[in-house]
């Protein structure tokens, strides 16, 4: 049988964002695969050079739709490093809560979302519905469900009220009560096992070679998590573990996310308890209005553990009121570009969406 070219995306319900994969298949087997970013036409990094330090917070969350907050956090933390800002303690705890809630929102979508390529739609609906409860919290905190624009250089934009804290406590309780349901529906499911176990393996050597981080690397037994290896915010002041697996297969990757959900619950609880009461949740970048904030000359890299792995912003300032250069390390860059080209060949057509889903390929991160 001859080689056939198939397009997966950009318009495909199983595609994660504005991205496509050109597959050259023989029968059901992928012979060659080519990733195609470039549908976004944004040029985030360049745009940032034309906007005030502060105004960029409207732009950067868009680099990753399912988990926008990491962008805000990295951008803010890099600027704070250069400008040597003393961020109020309460703001740092609030940021941790936001980042963990965002991780949970992302993982719920990913864990439930695995139902998409597998035809287990109940899981997808559950994941989305439960994620929506987190979006409710975000809406209460920041006034928006998806693009929060809430973590800013110097702190966070508004304080968290007791009412919102209460809302978070309730959610944590609720989501814990749901974990068994998820376990039963997805992880004790024969179909899931047969589609994911031992499939689409990424070995440790390959992961390390490409620079894959996050669950892709942890599923091969490497306990690499930025929250532990280079703790930021107050991650060194809370107890949590970094779950790992050894199979390196699709199942391990999804299951790790599921276990991480439980760790996030632990972290948020501790943050809510340890967070000091305070009126102050930010400091200005510099004296002056937001039109004229200046960041002193310098450069810094700030990174976080995103739901997809190490995520970082490298920021350069020439002392003016706009960034000189911002470069983003998107966590899914290695697996989304090299990974597709190098490791998809040999897998089956139906494995392709599973790769994209379990590897968390996020298009705007690549096409930025």
């Amino acid at each position: 049988m001859g080689e056939v070219k198939l397009f997966f995306g950009p318009n495909h319900p199983g595609m994660h964002g504005n991205f496509s994969v050109h597959m050259y298949v023989e029968g059901d087997i992928v012979k060659r695969a080519r990733p195609l970013p470039g549908f976004l036409h944004r040029g985030f990094e360049k745009l940032m050079e034309r906007r005030f330090w502060y105004s960029n917070i409207a732009l950067i969350p868009r680099i990753c739709v399912p988990e926008p907050d990491i962008n805000e956090a990295c951008y803010a933390m890099a600027i704070e490093k250069i400008a040597k800002l003393d961020v109020p303690e309460r703001a740092q705890w609030i940021r941790m809560i936001i980042l963990e809630l965002a991780r949970m929102a992302n993982h719920l979508m990913a864990v439930g979302g695995i139902g998409g390529p597998l035809g287990l739609y109940t899981a997808s609906h559950w994941g989305m519905a439960d994620r929506d409860r987190i979006l409710d919290i975000f809406e209460a905190i920041s006034g928006a469900r998806i693009y929060h624009m809430y973590i800013v250089p110097g702190g966070v934009r508004k304080n968290i009220t007791p009412k919102i804290e209460e809302m978070i406590w309730k959610f944590l309780e609720y989501i814990e009560s749901r974990f068994d349901d998820y376990e039963n529906l997805i992880f004790k499911n024969r179909i899931v096992h047969s589609r994911l176990k031992g499939r689409i393996i990424l070995t440790r050597e390959h992961a390390l070679e490409m620079g894959v981080t996050g669950v892709g690397l942890r599923a091969t037994g490497v306990p690499y998590d930025v929250r532990k290896v280079d703790p930021y915010l107050f991650y060194d002041k809370v107890d949590f573990i970094v779950p790992t697996a050894t199979d390196g297969d699709a199942f391990s990757r999804v299951y790790l996310k599921f276990q991480e959900l439980k760790q996030s619950v632990r972290i948020i609880r501790q943050a809510l308890e340890k967070m000091p009461q305070s009126d102050k949740v930010n400091v200005p970048i510099s004296k002056g209005s937001a039109l004229r904030h200046r960041v002193p000359k310098g450069m810094a890299y700030a990174h976080v553990e995103s739901a997809r792995g190490e995520y970082g912003f490298f920021v350069v300032s020439d002392g003016k009121n706009k960034p000189y250069r911002v470069a983003v390390r998107g966590a899914s860059y290695p697996q989304g570009l090299y990974g597709i080209e190098k490791y998809l060949p040999g897998t089956r057509i139906e494995d392709v969406p599973v790769w994209l889903a379990t590897m968390d390929v996020c298009a705007p991160e690549i096409d930025r």
């Binding site: 409207a58 004296k287 209005s289």
Partner: protein
């Protein structure tokens, strides 16, 4: 693969089926907007509202908007006024990212967001919308005012303006009252750049400044650390920037957009910072003034701010300018009135030096009407500009004011300045002084005399009484009153003099009666007193500081008859041109009451003279 499947325990085989228990549960999906109207959260960032009674059209919202969604649009029917521009923001919801940065930076707090998030229209124009206090639905009559629930509003955490001024350092009261050293120390480069960063560049101040100075432009030059550029901006409209940077009445600051919610930008101190930090030798290179000579000459009478400003602008246009000044030194009130601790001679010298460098001749000790006749001047020049100021003092004329120890503020201030610069004898210093007056001149003389008393006797004994019954009502600046208090001056607001008590030909003090009202219903000066309530303030000298008046005696009678006057001031057109076409006037004798009005008048008259002479060609 087989192996991993067999790892699944048998008992888990039916586990997924447990999800069936949800079949009987209520669905969590809600049908918006058909069945349920879902209320957004309290902080929701939905469609904007803008309270037009507060919005000043400053355009700061448009500047911060990261998506360029906001355009400022002139609104027919709105007029330009102090502190307001006749434009309002229009928002393009095709671009808006609902970030609320505009709300957080809005200088007045007029712009807010609602919890409104649904807007359905088949007309694309409906998404470009000028918010009012009624919100987006108002247009289609869906919401009455107040019904769209408020969403994201600014609070102290999210505020993107800097409401606090960079503190200006001053000499401490105990130290400054012992000498006439300048009180205000001036900003350092770092401080000035920080203060300049507070400005949002709206330019609302420019309209209110009588000289319409390019304020946002020179502040931006400071922000960019480009003082040469700043100097060029200053000199476009004001050649007395060094003086104005110290003692201007700074009306601009009273309308500063930042002042709506915080402390206005320190515009005056920023102006001073530029001038203090550009060396005089560099001026001619930076300003690069090389006009073509016009071959026409202008005579100016009086070297106060109006006269000097007119001279500067005329010289830059290529006119030959001569100033006639009665006093031995140029500067008018700036030289002989304003006390040294507010305006040192050097500051004035720097401004005048540049004007002289342009070829302007200043003939001092040349009193028109005595040393030279007006007619001679009129004959010599193609046009004449009058800027003779209000040089005569006013008296309360209560009994006893003709005593030699009852003085006028102006001559006393002049004597003090002359003494301090070594031009004249020491003024008499009373042990106990009563000053009558509540304006800035009264503050100047009270504080100057306090210093002399401190130097002479080691203590301050100055009592200043005014008709106005509160500090707020007094015409003096609050800063002046506060600083005078710090220096030991005692105030008696709400008292009007009855008589100067004189015994054995010596001043003993002043008797006052209670003033119960200064202005009548028509806001006219019409004081009323409670004759029963009286106080007596002891004094061996009394100084009256209740206002100044012009002296037109140098103008020939027939000329005075041709001129038009209104309440002692000469009437002119917008270019300072009087009823006599070659005669122009400005400063206190036309407008007053301060230096910057004089500068503006000088500038306008220079343009007027140029228009007049060009039209004659």
């Amino acid at each position: 693969m087989k192996q991993s499947q067999s790892q699944m325990p048998k008992k888990d085989f039916f586990a997924p089926v447990k999800a069936w228990k949800f079949l009987g549960k209520k669905p969590v999906t809600i049908e918006v907007p058909n069945k349920v109207k879902r209320e957004a959260s309290e902080r929701y960032r939905g469609f904007h509202i803008n309270d037009w009674s507060k919005c000043i059209g400053c355009g700061t919202c448009a500047k911060v908007c990261p998506t360029d969604a906001i355009k400022m649009v002139e609104v027919p029917g709105l007029v330009q006024e102090d502190g307001k521009l006749p434009q309002r923001p229009v928002i393009d919801y095709g671009r808006c990212s609902f970030c609320a940065l505009c709300v957080d930076i809005c200088t007045t707090g007029s712009l807010q967001m609602t919890r409104e998030y649904i807007h359905i229209s088949d007309d694309p124009e409906d998404y470009i919308f000028m918010p009012t206090e009624k919100g987006i639905k108002a247009k289609r009559g869906l919401y009455e005012h107040g019904k769209a629930p408020l969403g994201w509003v600014k609070d102290k955490d999210s505020d993107l303006l800097d409401l606090e001024r960079v503190l200006m350092e001053m000499v401490e009261p105990q130290e400054r009252v012992r000498s006439f050293i300048e009180i205000v120390k001036g900003y350092s480069k770092e401080q000035a750049m920080k203060e300049a960063a507070r400005c949002v560049g709206c330019g609302i101040c420019t309209y209110t400044c009588p000289a319409h100075m390019d304020i946002p432009q020179y502040i931006e030059s400071i922000y960019n650390d480009d003082l040469e550029e700043g100097l060029r901006w200053l000199y476009r409209t004001n050649p007395l920037s060094m003086v104005c940077g110290r003692v201007c009445t700074h009306r601009c600051e009273s309308v500063c957009a930042i002042g709506n919610r915080g402390e206005p930008v320190a515009i005056r101190w920023l102006k001073r910072y530029i001038i203090d930090n550009v060396p005089l030798e560099e001026y001619s290179r930076i300003l690069d003034i090389n006009p073509e000579k016009k071959g026409k000459s202008i005579g100016i009478i009086g070297s106060g701010p109006a006269g000097l400003a007119a001279a500067y602008f005329l010289a830059t246009m290529g006119y030959d300018v001569t100033i006639y000044e009665a006093a031995p030194r140029p500067g008018g009130v700036m030289r002989y009135g304003i006390p040294k601790y507010r305006l040192p001679d050097e500051a004035l010298d720097k401004d005048i030096a540049l004007i002289e460098a342009l070829g302007v001749r200043i003939l001092t000790n040349m009193k028109v009407g005595e040393d030279i006749s007006f007619d001679e001047i009129a004959k010599k020049h193609d046009a004449v500009f009058l800027a003779t100021g209000f040089g005569l003092g006013r008296s309360t004329k209560v009994p006893g004011t003709d005593h030699p120890n009852v003085k006028q503020a102006l001559p006393m201030l002049k004597m003090i300045r002359d003494f301090l610069r070594g031009d004249g004898p020491k003024p008499p210093v009373p042990k106990k002084l009563v000053v009558i007056g509540g304006g800035n001149v009264a503050m100047d003389i009270s504080r100057s005399m306090a210093r002399l008393q401190m130097i002479e006797y080691g203590k301050v004994d100055v009592h200043t009484a005014s008709l106005e019954r509160t500090y707020e009502e007094m015409p003096a600046d609050m800063d002046e009153i506060e600083e005078a208090l710090e220096e030991g001056v005692k105030f008696y607001p709400g008292w009007g003099p009855i008589e100067i008590v004189i015994e054995n030909d010596e001043v003993k003090g002043v008797r006052f009666k209670k003033c119960i009202r200064v202005f009548d219903e028509n806001h006219r000066f019409n004081p009323q007193f409670d004759e029963e309530k009286q106080i007596f303030l002891e004094a061996d000298m009394v100084i009256e500081a209740i206002g100044q008046a012009p002296d037109y005696s140098y103008l020939p009678q027939e000329l005075q008859e041709k001129l038009e006057f209104f309440r002692g001031r000469i009437k002119t057109n917008e270019y300072g041109q009087t009823a006599i076409e070659w005669l122009f006037a400005g400063g206190d004798i036309v407008h007053g009451p301060d230096i910057v009005h004089g500068v503006a008048d000088g500038h306008a008259a220079a343009k007027g003279i140029d228009l007049y002479l060009s039209s004659k060609e």
